[in-house]
Symmetry: C3
Subunit: 348 residues, 3 copies
């Protein structure tokens, strides 16, 4: 798979500097690219690396031309154009357009003729699969599911009953959608299961990583908005609603009925408690512990970062006495106000 610079420029609608007939065999990072590869520079932090790159060509901003004398593609957004360029080097397996003989497809399921169903997949009754859908090997689609045009599921995905996926979604391997929410009422005889009568609705152009679990709602549906992207191992509880174009990174967890706005980013291992409302354009840092609703857009974080263990242990013990420490400081302040020492210098 190789392209001339001219072909790439035409595809990306960018201006070429240098020999447009030059052949590009692939993409690589700025500091790793060889003379036959295309790279990109998306941040002025890397202008040093740009100057020293061995790449065959670079996607860069017009104003950085002075740092690079070789072949270039001029872009107002090099990172986005790099993302677009990756699609010219797509080496992923393609759907066969066939239904494998070992797949089990219920006679009542309605599949567009263009649907691919790989080996060992199981399609339940009353399922609707639109044009271009690709059901990977050993995927299980429960009764009544509806899947939109061009959506792909990688091997081992499980959809429970009545899940709907929009068009052009990509669901990675071993992810579960529509499992029962974690709902139980306490009783003297132990936990009494609350049947989860809601469903899961996934919008269009949603990507969900590997080994995720997205539960169906107890009473109202769990809803994943259009354009949402979800990394591996993310846990979405029952009744959660995620606004369009939000992003959740690896191992993030969202508890029941929490509503996340649009264009939010939730970093890795962050956890959101139940029944919260998170505004649009909220960004939560890694391992963030979100226990309150957030009304204002912006960046939020919690926790502390690692230190050498001995130092940390001393600090962590002091944390356990922090309220007491604050009271000791208040006492000192009172003492100084009451005492003979001048009170100037007080405060912030």
């Amino acid at each position: 798979m190789s392209h001339t610079l001219a072909e790439i420029a035409r595809h990306l609608d960018l201006e070429v500097l240098g020999p447009s007939e030059q052949v590009v065999t692939g993409l690589a990072a700025l500091n790793e690219a060889s003379g036959s590869q295309l790279t990109f520079c998306a941040n002025k932090r890397y202008l040093d690396q740009l100057a020293n790159s061995s790449a065959g060509a670079v996607i860069l901003r017009p104003e950085w031309r002075e740092f690079w004398s070789g072949p270039a593609l001029l872009s107002a957004d090099p990172y986005l154009d790099f993302a677009r360029a990756t699609h010219l080097f797509d080496d992923r397996p393609r759907p066969s357009g066939q239904r494998h003989a070992s797949a089990q497809i219920d006679p009542s399921a309605e599949l567009d003729p263009s649907v691919t169903v790989d080996a060992g997949a199981v399609i339940g009754p009353n399922v609707h699969l639109a044009a271009g859908v690709w059901i990977g090997a050993r995927v299980v689609i429960g009764p009544g599911c509806v899947v939109g045009e061009g959506t792909e599921m990688r091997p081992g995905v499980v959809l429970y009953h009545d899940v709907s996926l929009g068009s052009h979604c990509l669901i990675h391997a071993n992810t579960t959608i529509g499992s029962d929410g974690f709902g139980f009422a306490p009783s003297v005889k132990g936990w009494h299961k609350i049947l989860q009568l809601g469903r899961v609705q996934v919008g269009n152009r949603v990507e969900i990583g590997a080994n995720c679990a997205i539960d169906r709602g107890a009473l109202h549906d769990t809803v994943i908005g259009d354009g949402v992207i979800i990394d591996n191992h993310v846990h979405i509880a029952h009744g959660v609603r995620i606004g369009r174009d939000s992003a959740l990174a690896g191992a993030a967890a969202v508890a029941g009925s929490t509503v996340i706005g649009e264009r939010c980013t939730i970093a890795g291992q962050a956890g959101l408690a139940d029944h919260l409302e998170i505004a649009d354009d909220v960004h939560i840092g890694g391992q963030g512990r979100v226990t309150r609703s957030i009304a204002d857009a912006g960046y939020y974080a919690s926790g502390t970062s690692i230190q050498p263990q001995k130092t940390w242990a001393r600090n962590a013990v002091r944390f356990e006495q922090l309220n007491e420490l604050a009271r000791r400081v208040s006492a000192l302040e009172s003492q100084l106000k009451d005492g003979s020492v001048a009170s100037e210098g007080e405060g912030e």
Copy 2:
């Protein structure tokens, strides 16, 4: 699926107020229910919502009748009775009672005639499946497993060898039970694997969420007590023992050989270190970091909550100096004691 109020009342053994022939078509939350739906009020915090609800009928405490003039079911425990009512609206797929032709069942396996085995499932040698067991599509049951009456496994579940599940359990999709515990001895040649010779014993009426992993023991068994409920993505290491009716929420993790008492609740993303003993009726907050045994029942928490990032960053840096700060406060206290300022007001 619809029921008259009278039918529901009879099923739940509750008193009806209002027209008992009224038809209920489903369940919904207090603030979302329509005139054909039944809802519930379980907390006096929601009495305002109750007064304004459009629901067709409400399960409520007798003492809250003044807040609601419509049809009602009087209950001493509305949340529990709501949980019970969900079972009247069960819309889940039912087991077929058949063994699918594509399932692979070892001739030495003993299956009650009422067992359902769905497409692509694999049942190993010397497996025993009791009456009413439902093996979902593509489930793999390893050699020697024993599964009690009425237990159901959703698609993609994997049981390694010699796992025992009690009766009336529900195991969600893509969960693994009986995988090797993480046991290795260090050596000059690297990690030397310790074979995990124990098993996993799961009690009766246990529910385990999607994409969980429960490891077999190294020497003694991993044991999940009766009535335990486990959410998605929970990690249970080798040799852990969990007492009856305890609950573990999403992405909680329990390290090797830790023993959890009865009726404990472990919130989402909490982590328990290895070889701890947790008493009965202990409740751990979200992302709790449990590194010590807990001898007393009660509520425990750790960590800090999110703040706007700039504020947080300043506080987090101070945490790294917390021991030093405490020593500075001690120095001030000494100084004031030694000096001319009166010492009253000191301390707690």
Copy 3:
């Protein structure tokens, strides 16, 4: 499965004390072993338990003989020799050496005649499987994968295309390797997918737990070094490189392009941010929040441990005012320096 002490001693190359013809039927912990079982004592902390053990025989250090009068195997490293002894009691299912009729094997795949392929597995085109490989039930191996000698995959594992696994690896159930890294460029139209053009390379003697997800690289490969051990639910993002003999415990997460050195240990639920460099022999504590590169070997930790909830809540609130508290302490210090009180006793 039973062995005489003499047989075990010969296998482990250890000296026997006591009746070498004594029969050992299994292994157990020091405080649980019966008279027919072998146990071990690996730490002087347990010398009390040793003295009171009912075990039939003990692997112990020669210098601890005074604490144990029964049969013994003398070892310079009892824990390692215990690990080696577990392999004498291996009760795991064995590979059949057959290819199950229900497995789907692409005609272009090259399988050594000794390969085992269990029921429902799917082997894609141009796959190479070396001698002794064991493909568990319902495993899916994508096009172009290469698997080294003796490597085993438990049921439900999914390998995307072009993944390479070394020899003598063990991959546990429902783990995904080679899924797309979480790479998207922001645009005015939402997230634009960056195709993940790299691969995953797993070394020799690597063990990966159940329900893990290891993503393929965006441009360069994700690389897991020889002898690395990985617990359940671990998330390895695109382009991560892990040095030989490092260990990652349950639910640890490593973000994109981070490089971990050799012989590191990452405890449970720890999270490493992206693009970090972690030196050799670094040890991160449980739930560690690693946001900076680490240049020096050693032990690191972050976070705080659980406290009773009321105490914790007071401390956690004070954390949110910690910077202010530090400034108040500084003010007090200034005040005392400026004032009439003597300045001795100040500081560290």
